[in-house]
């Protein structure tokens, strides 16, 4: 995986920075776990160990091991230089952002319309297909999904106003 980050001399965030950031985030997470355990009691109650007993020690281990990783990451010599090139990260964001919109839209417009839009958008934008072709493919997938889940396996999926209008 590391060889992909070293060719062609592009720029991007350094691997060390991301590594340190991850370790710091883990430490924060560990502290949250410790705080949460503290709230419910980490000691010994009437019926044995209290609810926070086990997670408290998990939090301690997370913080301790992450501190080690943080120091390790700042001292390590032969880390790959780049985490990824900006161009590569742009590709990754090109998936994350539309998916985030998609995920946020599901409660409002239902999963079918949202999926139709997501697949068509990807095909037009990343694949360079014509809009009509993209819509046909995505409509085919969505209809097949509808039949499989709602009709065959009887699993209801979230629907929006349009499905209500059609009486599905």
């Amino acid at each position: 995986m590391s060889e992909g980050t070293q060719h062609s001399g592009g720029t991007g965030p350094s691997h060390r920075a991301v590594e340190i950031g991850t370790a710091a985030a883990m430490i924060a997470l560990g502290l949250i776990v410790i705080a949460g355990s503290w709230q419910v009691g980490i000691g010994w109650g009437a019926e044995g160990p209290k609810s926070g007993f086990f997670p408290f020690y998990l939090g301690i281990i997370i913080v301790g091991a992450s501190l080690f990783n943080l120091i390790q990451a700042s001292l390590e010599r032969d880390l790959p230089v780049l985490f990824a090139e900006w161009a590569q990260l742009r590709q990754v964001l090109a998936v994350i952002i539309p998916t985030a919109v998609y995920v946020g839209a599901i409660p409002w417009i239902g999963i079918y319309i949202a999926s139709l839009a997501l697949i068509a958008l990807f095909m037009v934008w990343l694949g360079g297909y014509r809009i009509t072709y993209s819509l046909m493919v995505s409509a085919g997938v969505v209809i097949a999904t509808y039949l499989t889940f709602e009709k065959w396996f009887l699993v209801p999926l979230p629907k929006g106003p349009l499905e209500e209008l059609l009486g599905l």
Partner: protein, 506 residues
């Protein structure tokens, strides 16, 4: 001979037409999952698990385990034809499989790969049939301390035997345990770690985590690497298959050795991927044609495929008999058992005979059906791989979302899936292992329960984990696994001969 009778009962369950149909559907879906990037055994099973909620547990496990077999088979297709391992355990298959395809021997390579997969799986299933009931019978006498010791051993093996840095494995694992602790504490009935967020009342569902970490994370990695598929033509005709089958018995030593390696690595949670590499490495060193490995040697396909399949199958042994899964996919299957209301572990063999033996029987038949399906349908699967990623990528995203939603009919879970996906991408890039995290999310509650019950019995003294011969020996095994890298280093230094660079090259 009670086992044989039970096994035949199992076969009677499996060959009901409905179950046979599910088996073929499962294999087909599994191969597709194995072929597509971004969909692997673990998250493929996780996505399809909600579809089985309405089925009987036996039918459900037949379909889901067949998806698993299919995924194991499918990984070989992409390795040989496209030089892209569809699954991590088929990386070693590309070394000789793809050169064979380049020389126009794709048919031979695929036949060898599928057949060795079948042999490896068969060996492991026979082992499960013979060993699992014994292990389960033995484990019936386990108290909470012994149960915790088994969990301890499983997780220590991840830390000591995994190829990722131990401290990162520990962090990933502990975060998994912490995620499992969120929500209602089953022992005291108290809420914890929710910080007043009502969505967290039920905690984090491992299925959502699996779909996010493995599914979405993998798609993000694929996007970053910008894969383009350029495959070799696939043609398998009966003549090639027969010719290859005539040739394969020559490699029986390699095959047998790979079976043993696979079974061993599969039972310990090291898993199929290291098993395939180790088997390939040893075959290369031992074989008379070793110098030719990497240039298209059929033995170099036999060794990793046999071991990977044996390991993948053997991973179900500890899951069935002890309730400790040997791989992420086995962990998802174990989660399925809990959802269907079955208690995984030794009691399963006593209380749910039909289920257990149905599953074991379906392993025999499923692998046979799988072999026939993949041998006949290779061109179809290769065609699926030629669909551009800009079409298949969003479709996989949609299926992941549907899978995450159907777990609890909650759109919040879909949001969590995306969050887990981004986390999974960053963690994978920073070399944190995801498998122990998933296993910890699945097993967290059980491990904690066993730990607290043991402490309750001993009034809080850790001495209970060394209170008798059985529990002490399991704990000591765990400690050996935990400190294995140091023990190995110390050993080589004592002998003073081997170069330190050799350690950790697995």
């Amino acid at each position: 001979m009670e086992e044989v009778v039970n096994l035949f009962h199992g076969f009677a369950v499996v060959i009901q037409p409905f179950n046979l149909l599910l088996m073929v559907v499962g294999i087909l879906l599994g191969v597709i999952i194995g072929v597509l990037p971004g969909l692997g055994g673990a998250n493929g099973v996780a996505i399809l698990l909600p579809l089985t909620f309405s089925m009987s547990p036996t039918s459900a496990i037949i379909m889901l385990s067949c998806i698993y077999w299919g995924a194991l088979f499918g990984g070989a297709i992409t390795s040989v034809l496209f030089n892209i391992p569809g699954e991590p355990w088929s990386v070693a298959t590309t070394f000789d499989g793809h050169p064979m395809a380049q020389q126009g021997k794709a048919g031979e390579a695929l036949t060898a790969a599928f057949t060795s997969s079948f042999v490896g799986a068969l060996f492991a299933v026979i082992m499960i049939t013979l060993v699992a009931p014994l292990v389960a019978k033995f484990a019936l006498q386990f108290g909470p301390a012994e149960k915790f010791a088994v969990f301890f051993l499983a997780f220590c093996s991840f830390i000591g035997l995994g190829k990722e840095p131990p401290m990162k494995t520990i962090v990933a694992m502990m975060i998994g345990f912490a995620l499992a602790a969120v929500g209602l504490d089953s022992v005291t009935g108290q809420l914890r770690l929710t910080f007043g967020v009502t969505e967290l009342l039920n905690g984090f569902d491992f299925l959502v985590a699996v779909i996010g970490l493995f599914g979405i994370g993998e798609i993000l990695l694929t996007m970053e690497e910008g894969l383009s598929f350029k495959g070799k033509a696939a043609g398998i005709n009966p003549k090639v298959v027969l010719q290859t089958w005539m040739e394969l018995p020559r490699y029986w030593v390699t095959s047998l050795r790979s079976c043993v390696i696979g079974c061993w690595m599969g039972i310990s949670p090291a898993g199929a991927t290291p098993a395939s590499f180790m088997s390939y490495g040893i075959a290369k060193r031992v074989s008379t044609k070793g110098h030719n490995f990497g240039k298209g040697e059929i033995e170099g396909v036999v060794a990793p495929e046999t071991a990977a399949h044996a390991a993948g199958t053997a991973a179900l042994l500890p899951m069935l008999s002890l309730g400790v899964p040997g791989s992420p996919t086995a962990a998802v299957l174990l989660g399925g058992l809990l959802i269907w209301g079955l208690q995984p572990g030794p009691l399963l063999f006593v209380e749910q005979k039909e289920f257990v033996w149905g599953l074991i029987a379906s392993m025999y038949l499923g692998n046979l059906v799988g072999l026939l399906v993949v041998l006949t349908c290779v061109p179809l699967f290769a065609a699926i791989l030629r669909i551009p990623f800009s079409i298949i990528g969003p479709i996989i995203l949609v299926f992941c979302a549907i899978g995450a939603y159907t777990v609890h009919n909650s759109t919040f879970d879909v949001v969590m899936m995306l969050v887990f996906g981004v986390i999974g991408y960053v963690l994978k890039k920073c070399n944190y292992p995801l498998a122990p995290m998933v296993l910890a999310i699945v097993l967290g509650d059980k491990a904690e329960e066993a730990f607290r019950q043991s402490l309750l019995a001993s009034q809080g003294s850790l001495g209970i984990f060394f209170s008798n011969a059985l529990v002490s020996s399991i704990m000591v095994l765990g400690l050996i696994a935990l400190f294995w890298p140091m023990i190995q280093n110390g050993w080589t230094r004592l002998r003073g001969s081997n170069s330190p660079a050799r350690s950790g090259s697995l």
